[in-house]
């Protein structure tokens, strides 16, 4: 295999705050190849945004500790100087953000903000940068770009502003585009348009995309792989079909069961995941998901699961202490409409001695 475009290895990000140390990202590993799309899914505070901001060096601060490696085309971004990293930002790796309303500067014309992205990394004249801005607006499907380039952000609708953000990110033809909740602030119909646009642009420009979202439904269509994050860790990682076809982690089950579907009876209730996201300062013992897991065993409160390959499913990784066969029985039962509480009998405490979970190694070097 050739080297992947982006290879994150055992990345850890900690913030020291007045309340204690926040373990925002706790040893995650993933890779993204050129032309591929990775979805990082998790709820607020799961570390998905922090991990991406760290890739761009935007979490660097006095109170931040960053460990691990972020290899971009073989260069470790963690060890680059601020200025070297700045030259990569917006140039080889670009990012778009959740709220296009507040992500554009209200005082500058759209054209000026697009030109700035070009001029920061290219030594071209102002008129060339402006021509490029018009071209970019056209690329992202904004009608009448000659006129729009001289307008202010407040003259654009939400969806159009997100298109402007995407245009700005594409200004220097990045090899990797990170989209952080790109559709969360938008209307449902506009969401589909923006996702379609990203897919289309990827096909035309051949870049890699990381889509960060809390909504599995958003990434279902456009991703090749999905990593599910919980409490700063990846708890499940697999090709998209495997995540939807045979999900392995109880948290993923919860996420899947909370997506509205068109193919199920209308009266079927959406099932929320009970409980609250854990504190990243005082993390739960053992498996971090155990306080919210319907299938928890006593031992799970002590043993910290590692992300390991799922038996018989290469390329699929999960960090769950339940045995693979138990997991597949539960998922089948859940799909049949069973209530999680009624499935407790499948996980009743066995008297067998603990398996050697603690000695299992993190399968971080593996391809996704």
């Amino acid at each position: 295999m050739s080297t992947p475009l982006l290879q994150v290895e055992d990345l850890r990000v900690r913030f020291s705050t007045d309340d204690g140390i926040v373990h925002a990202v706790d040893g995650i590993s993933y890779t993204v190849d050129t032309g591929q799309t990775l979805g990082i899914v998790g709820e607020s505070g799961s570390g998905k945004t922090v991990s991406s901001l760290t890739t761009l060096g935007l979490t660097r601060a006095k109170n931040t500790t960053i460990e691990g490696r972020i290899l971009f085309e073989g260069r470790d971004l963690v060890t680059l100087s601020d200025d070297e990293l700045r030259k990569i930002r917006g140039n080889e790796i670009a990012m778009i953000f959740q709220d296009p309303l507040s992500s554009l500067h209200p005082f500058y014309k759209v054209g000026a903000q697009l030109s700035e992205a070009v001029l920061t990394h290219r030594s071209v004249g102002k008129s060339a940068a402006r021509a490029r801005s018009v071209e970019l607006l056209e690329l992202v499907g904004i009608p009448d770009p000659q006129k729009r380039v001289d307008q202010f952000p407040h003259e654009f609708s939400g969806g159009m502003r997100q298109r402007v953000m995407i245009a700005m990110a594409l200004a220097n033809e990045p090899k990797l585009l990170i989209a952080d909740e790109p559709t969360t602030a938008l209307d449902v119909t506009v969401q589909a348009q923006i996702l379609g646009l990203l897919e289309d642009l990827q096909r035309r420009l051949g870049m890699a995309i990381i889509v960060i979202t809390h909504d599995l439904g958003v990434v279902a269509e456009i991703t090749d792989h999905i990593a599910v994050m919980y409490a700063g860790r990846i708890v499940e990682r697999a090709p998209t079909e495997a995540i939807f076809g045979s999900p392995q982690h109880p948290y993923t089950w919860g996420l899947l069961r909370s997506i509205p579907r068109l193919d199920t009876p209308r009266d079927e209730e959406l099932v929320p995941i009970s409980g609250r996201p854990p504190s990243l300062i005082q993390r739960p013992s053992g498996c971090h998901f155990h306080p919210r897991c319907p299938y928890v065993r006593e031992a799970h409160k002590r043993i910290d699961p590692r992300l390991e390959p799922v038996t018989g499913d290469p390329g699929h990784f999960a960090a769950c202490l339940l045995e693979t066969d138990v997991r597949s029985r539960i998922w089948r039962a859940l799909q049949a409409g069973e209530d999680p509480a009624s499935l407790r009998h499948l996980v009743v405490e066995d008297q067998q001695p603990m398996r050697a979970h603690a000695t299992h190694r993190l399968a971080s070097q593996e391809e996704l």
């Binding site: 930002r89 500067h105 992205a117 200004a171």
Partner: protein, 320 residues
């Protein structure tokens, strides 16, 4: 844009009319002293007072008096005669205005230069020693009364009584003739007047910068790879300075309106504030009234400037 300015100007006129009504009410309807008696002097008899009352129009009905007053002020720009000096109040104010303008302009330049740069640096180097030191110092300057600070400055640096006699002291403005001498004589008052205000501006600018630096569009600029200096200058300061413009407009208006009264008194500068101070001492009602109206004019005028400046600074205002 043109309609916006016209609307603002009309609103200013309405504002000034309201202020003139309030001033008229305070000085004519609820007089603290009888203007005719004040005008007549100490040894006047009742007939003399009645004659003066007639000549001032004080025997007419209130509403007529108001109409006359408004006509005089707005059409003829006539604020009446000072009881004390027996010269037109307008002439009196205009003769004092240059000193006040000098004082204000110099102080504004100093406090903007110091206040804004300290505020920006403090915000960028937040929680550093520099930040903590400058914020503590600014608190000290805000807490120090201007008259005390003025006296301390004179005691330390004035060339007549100072411990380090390096700068012109009290009353030096009146005797200064060249621009250079005038500037030198103003240097102590400028610093004293600017001290507290620059401290306020530093704290205000710091808070505004910290707010702005956490905005999403700042993160966007950084994600674009824009160098940090440019992020600060072009993206953050540009936004953070907008609320300062409001503050500045008001402060300039207030100072020109005669509110440099303490500084002008301590340093014996013949400005509008000092004129007001003297007028209050001798109950020179027309002068007080004239300065009040004049002050209202300056404040309304600079508010207008701020409104127009806002439309240029923030494109969202222009189109709404």
């Amino acid at each position: 844009m043109g309609r916006y300015i016209i609307r603002r100007v009309l609103w200013c006129f309405a504002m000034l009319l309201i202020v003139s009504a309030a001033v008229f009410f305070i000085f004519y309807v609820l007089p603290s002293a009888d203007p005719a008696v004040l005008r007549a002097g100490r040894n006047a008899g009742p007939q003399q007072i009645a004659a003066i009352r007639h000549s001032l129009g004080l025997d007419k009905p209130i509403w007529q008096q108001y109409l006359i007053y408004v006509r005089q002020v707005f059409l003829h720009f006539d604020f009446g005669y000072s009881y004390q000096y027996n010269v037109p109040v307008r002439q009196l104010i205009f003769s004092r205005l240059p000193a006040t303008i000098w004082l204000t302009v110099g102080a504004v330049i100093i406090w903007l230069a110091i206040g804004l740069s300290v505020g920006i640096l403090s915000a960028v180097k937040r929680r550093s020693i520099l930040d903590r030191t400058s914020m503590t110092t600014s608190l000290a300057f805000i807490s120090a009364p201007v008259f005390w600070l003025g006296l301390v400055a004179l005691y330390l640096f004035a060339n007549d009584i100072g411990q380090f006699p390096i700068l012109p002291g009290q009353g030096s403005y009146a005797s200064a003739s060249t621009v250079f001498q005038k500037a030198a004589s103003m240097s102590l008052p400028w610093c004293v007047l600017a001290a507290a205000t620059s401290a306020v501006y530093a704290r205000y600018m710091r808070a505004s910068m910290i707010d702005t630096l956490s905005e999403d569009y700042i993160r966007t600029a950084r994600a674009k790879g824009v160098p940090e200096r440019t992020v600060i200058r072009r993206h953050a300061v540009r936004s953070a300075i907008t609320p300062i413009v409001t503050l500045l407009g008001l402060d300039i208006g207030i100072l020109l309106a005669g509110n440099a009264i303490l500084t002008e008194t301590v340093f014996n500068i013949p400005g509008v504030g000092r004129l007001l101070y003297n007028a209050i001492n001798v109950s020179d009602l027309t002068t007080i009234q004239g300065i009040t109206l004049f002050g209202a004019f300056f404040i309304v005028f600079f508010n207008l400037i701020v409104d127009i400046a806002y439309a240029y600074l923030d494109p969202r205002v222009r189109y709404s």
